[in-house]
């Protein structure tokens, strides 16, 4: 029914907003998958997830905007994209850095809380502390000013139906799809991926099967943080600027996507991201863009009223 309603609206919607929405959705999707994986396995809402995205963007900025130019490497753009080769080098480095950071935070803070049997709500609150501390740290190192990745091109593609997209959008979508596919392969084909799903299904049975929960948790952070870091870099490319609060503001659509799709379900997170991303962009046709997240939340509430477990959530 909802789908029919949305499809009915389509002729009245600017296609360029839909395209933009799909690009935004691919970024939301990357963040939301990590968020939902962490929830499924650790049972905690990682409120710092948005700030892991921010960290990813800034680390990439450090490599692409500061370190690599300082080493005297040629900036040079790639085809029509706004960014140059340095960003392609910076992205994997940023992923590694944020993953290491997430594992370290788990060791130092969350693991200690878990071992003391602290309530999961309090662990989530601890992640709020991590979020605020991390944002402060980012601001301390890089200042609160708006920063930009080096810009090499200003080309815009003109497509039929009055759609104008920057070539970067294609890059964002391709990277996002590749990472989602990689995540799917890890979860469905590798031993650790299956152990992660098993632990999310039934932690006690995973323990008595000999699955080391500690290692599962570690790899969950690695995957979740890697996806978040990528989402952060792509968001920096998408909105063409980097500010300390970018990830924190992104947390609302992330949670909306996770909840809409059904908490704990990676497929649900993807579906939720698509709906939230497109809704947010398309809503700007009628409402002030600063209310975008409100449109996403209204839609989420509507879906939950009809289907409380979300689109793909497990039956209670």
């Amino acid at each position: 029914m909802l789908v029919a309603l949305l499809a009915g609206l389509l002729p009245f919607v600017k296609m360029s907003l839909v395209v933009n929405g799909l690009v935004l959705a691919s970024i939301i999707g990357l963040g939301a998958i990590g968020l939902t994986l962490i929830y499924g396995i650790l049972n905690m809402a990682n409120v710092a997830h948005g700030d892991y995205m921010t960290l990813g963007a800034y680390v990439a900025l450090f490599f692409a905007g500061t370190l690599i130019p300082a080493l005297g490497a040629e900036g040079g753009g790639i085809g029509p994209f706004t960014f140059g080769y340095p960003l392609l080098v910076a992205m994997p480095l940023s992923i590694a850095a944020v993953a290491a950071f997430a594992v370290a935070v788990d060791r130092l803070i969350y693991r200690r809380l878990r071992e003391r049997g602290v309530n999961v709500v309090l662990v989530s609150m601890a992640s709020l502390g991590v979020a605020i501390a991390l944002r402060g740290l980012v601001q301390l190192i890089w200042s609160g000013d708006v920063q930009r990745l080096p810009r090499e091109s200003r080309e815009v593609w003109r497509l039929p139906m009055d759609v104008r997209v920057p070539p970067d959008s294609l890059f964002i979508a391709v990277v996002a799809i590749a990472l989602v596919a990689a995540t799917y392969l890890v979860l469905s084909r590798t031993k650790m991926g299956k152990a992660m799903r098993a632990t999310a299904d039934n932690p006690d049975l995973a323990l008595v099967s000999g699955i080391s929960t500690q290692r599962v948790i570690q790899w969950t952070w690695v995957m979740g943080a890697a996806l978040a870091a990528t989402a952060g870099v792509l968001l920096a490319v998408f909105q063409a600027n980097i500010i300390p609060i970018m990830g924190w503001k992104f947390l609302i659509p992330l949670f909306a996507a996770v909840i809409l799709g059904g908490v704990g379900s990676p497929y649900g997170a993807l579906a939720g991201a698509l709906i939230i991303g497109v809704t947010m962009e398309v809503s700007t046709q009628w409402i002030n863009p600063s209310y975008k997240p409100a449109a996403a939340f209204a839609l989420m509430l509507l879906v939950l009223l009809m289907r409380p477990r979300g689109l793909f959530g497990p039956r209670q």
């Binding site: 299956k194 152990a195 299904d201 006690d204 995973a206 008595v208 099967s209 000999g210 497990p314």
Partner: protein, 237 residues
């Protein structure tokens, strides 16, 4: 030497103490059944042995070495595998993936063992890629036992394997358990279905209010008039 020796085990959850000093022994190749009324601590004893519930005092020795206080993922490596009463499969994983997870700590190739399990539990062979969550109660129980057997244990702990199954399925499950035992695996069983379980057991324990009341050969427990009257009720449990 006994295979498993739980002596004077005290355990519980939070403030509540459920087991007040329970002793149970399982010898190599035996089938031992623990019977007793609801809430007497049968399941807690199982969980204490496999490390899911902390042993507060007393000891658990397996093959002569103490295992109390070890984390579950270490205990399972010693050759002791456990099938919980409920939630005993990974519902979103396929049959094949469930078995693979059962073999998680197994070094090297587990495929031969998986084929053996498919031979032992033919109900699982037809759709190995079906999600465990969509299986019937009986199939699920078979899968749960097969998962626990993937590590080739010397002792299998089964918590109420017949609970909630249709009568025809109950005898199939018991028949499979007998086959597993004939292959040399000792079995420690907790059962509501006490008649059927005690008949195939070498020995039985009667657990009441967190204490072991009685230990006897399976047949003797069945024939004990008090036990029969108080704890076995009718056949229709």
């Amino acid at each position: 030497m006994a295979l498993l020796e739980a002596s004077e085990v005290v355990a519980g959850y939070g403030e509540t103490e459920v087991l007040h000093g329970v002793s149970v022994v399982v010898d190599e190749g035996e089938v031992v059944t623990i019977i007793g009324p609801n809430g007497c601590g049968k399941s807690t004893l199982m969980k204490a042995v496999v490390g899911l519930v902390r042993v507060r005092s007393g000891g658990v020795a397996f093959r002569g070495a103490p295992i109390e206080g070890l984390p579950p993922e270490r205990i399972v490596r010693t050759g002791l595998c456990y099938v919980p009463q409920t939630n005993n499969v990974f519902p979103s994983l396929t049959i094949r993936e469930n078995l693979e997870m059962g073999a998680f700590v197994r070094e090297g190739d587990y495929r031969t063992r998986m084929d053996e399990m498919f031979a032992l539990f033919p109900d699982l062979t037809r759709q190995p890629n079906r999600r465990a969550g969509s299986l019937s109660g009986g199939q699920r129980q078979m899968l749960a036992i097969a998962r626990a057997l993937m590590l080739d244990p010397v002792l299998l702990l089964l918590d109420e394997p017949s609970a909630g199954l249709a009568p025809a399925m109950v005898s199939t499950v018991f028949e499979r358990i007998r086959e597993v035992n004939r292959a040399g695996v000792a079995v420690l069983l907790v059962e509501q279905n006490a008649w059927e379980a005690l008949r195939m057991s070498d020995r039985g324990y009667l657990l009441v209010a967190g204490e072991s009341r009685l230990e006897a050969a399976g047949r003797e427990l069945l024939d004990d008039p008090d036990v029969a009257r108080l704890y076995l009720g009718g056949r229709a449990t």
